[in-house]
Symmetry: C2
Subunit: 326 residues, 2 copies
């Protein structure tokens, strides 16, 4: 097994294998996870994180591949995390990764990693955030997080991004109706992919109409960009839109406040996570808790008094110095 030192030295030296192993370690919720994150978090904050989301079949992977090729031509290094919550598979050995990596096989400036549901700690959202931290410390200029926008979990994943692209396509019925409301809210840029297909213009005007209603007083109105990932058209315009968004965020200070708010949210959600892990452990281990619950069952103690006592017991368990480790 890797030692923590080996992993950190490998990351420091920008060894691709160390990066891959570090990410696997996060996915496996390995023993060095928190130490690695502490190391990487202190060295991060430089990459721009792009989120790409949209319904299944919207052509997100092809679009991301086109963006990677474009960015490489600009001399930028790119890390890609492709999150598929419906897949039980993870890791670099995935067929999809191999195919996607082929174009960039000899290019050290690109790293693509697929993740399925293997990640354990609090689900994929935590894992994704940590993988982004690793890639950030590793030194990629751009990190792209790609995921299917189907539920709350995927929305949570998107909260890692500085700029979020929502990908829509013509021909999927009323495109706007088929996309969840919450996903429209997080869009910084709308991408109408498959612009070669009939109906693409209609989707663009539908989105613009929605924005007309919503963005009456918007400081930043999300642009709508048509692309064809298949034909490779529109990628440069898309990147210009991203750069405009970045410029707006830097000038307005929104980038800093967004990132700071993300730090706070992530920390507080980890407090909650550690608490629940602690509670589960204490319920199993603490004799006092089950005795109290038995007293409630027998109506010798009421639920409120019991709950307050249990809270104190659990907190005392933390207070005596194990720092909430579980």
């Amino acid at each position: 097994m890797d030692s923590l030192e080996n992993l950190l030295t490998g990351l420091e030296k920008r060894q691709v294998r160390a990066l891959a192993r570090a990410i696997s370690h996060i996915e496996d919720d390995g023993p060095f996870r928190e130490a690695m994150i502490a190391y990487c978090f202190a060295r991060g904050g430089r990459a721009h994180v792009l989120g790409v989301t949209g319904a299944p079949g919207a052509g997100k992977s092809s679009l991301v591949d086109r963006m990677v090729a474009f960015l490489r031509r600009q001399g930028k290094t790119v890390g890609v995390v492709a999150v598929d919550p419906s897949s039980p598979f993870s890791g670099g050995a995935l067929l999809g990764d191999r195919i996607r990596m082929q174009d960039h096989a000899t290019d050290k400036g690109v790293f693509i990693r697929s993740m399925g549901t293997r990640g354990s700690l609090g689900g994929l959202a935590y894992t994704t955030k940590d993988v982004v931290k690793i890639m950030d410390a590793y030194g990629f200029d751009i990190i792209i997080v790609e995921t299917v926008g189907v539920g709350q979990a995927e929305l949570d994943i998107m909260h890692v991004a500085d700029t979020t692209l929502v990908v829509l396509t013509p021909g999927a019925g009323d495109a706007i109706q088929t996309i969840k409301a919450g996903i429209m809210e997080i869009a910084d840029i709308f991408v109408v992919n498959k612009a070669d297909l009939p109906g693409a213009e209609k989707v663009v005007s539908e989105i613009e109409m929605m924005l007309d209603m919503k963005c009456d007083h918007c400081v930043f109105r999300p642009p709508v960009v048509s692309v064809s990932a298949l034909e490779g058209r529109g990628v440069e315009q898309l990147w210009q839109a991203v750069e405009k968004h970045v410029a707006y965020m830097q000038e307005s200070g929104v980038l800093t406040t967004r990132r700071e708010q993300r730090c706070v949210n992530e920390t507080l959600s980890l407090v909650d996570y550690f608490w629940h892990r602690l509670v589960e452990k204490q319920y199993r281990q603490q004799d006092g808790v089950s005795k109290l619950l038995d007293r409630v069952k027998a109506r010798q103690c009421d639920p409120y008094s019991a709950a307050r006592q249990i809270l104190t017991m659990i907190c005392n368990g933390v207070g005596v110095g194990n720092q909430g480790q579980s």
Copy 2:
């Protein structure tokens, strides 16, 4: 304002006004709430709690009124909690309560109380459970909790019941499709109300078919009872079904295990509730928490370390002896 002593003495003497005031005190999350519950919980556990749920317009109120009249003729005392999560109104002054109470105006063996969204502590589920505890200690033989079965919150409310009646009606399209899956799961008895309308037989056979599939190995197969609350038909048969369910639960020991499990669930959910209230308070008050969050924002501390330290801070706040009071 009432004193705790007055409230408890009034309940002890079975004064209706004390009962009404005690319930208002719960709804207002008043200062004596927990002391009252401790008192009542120790004296409760005798009433049989019936839950009645179903879609809006299923005729739940009329059915409950018929049941109350029937039970009174049997010499049983009845408390009714009618929970309407969509209503902002609560309390005995509600027009609906007055109308519903008219039939029983001089009858001290009946008490009907409507509750809307006024209850604060963890929402209506907590309030309802506590009102049932008060009515139980007051000495009603039967307590009926009536609510619209539309969401998770209403399902939670139903977890107070020993026997749950799910009320369906003909003519609401495919009745079973219109009722949420979770509600079908909690049914101990299916009631097809408005049996005077065409299509009632079809609803009965639809439910039976569903039960044929689901209850291949059921120890207790929920019966399906047709009633007409309007015409007052079927109420006696319904009560016989309830008594059969009670007998089954007593003989099998299910009644005890269900009630014990409810005690455990309620206590553990209160632990969670107190924890979150504590966390909110500490975030506002503890200087250390916001200083740590500032350090995370500046990447001087990573989210994991910060979360563990915040957990310890909050727990220490409890450990020093304030017992989680907030």
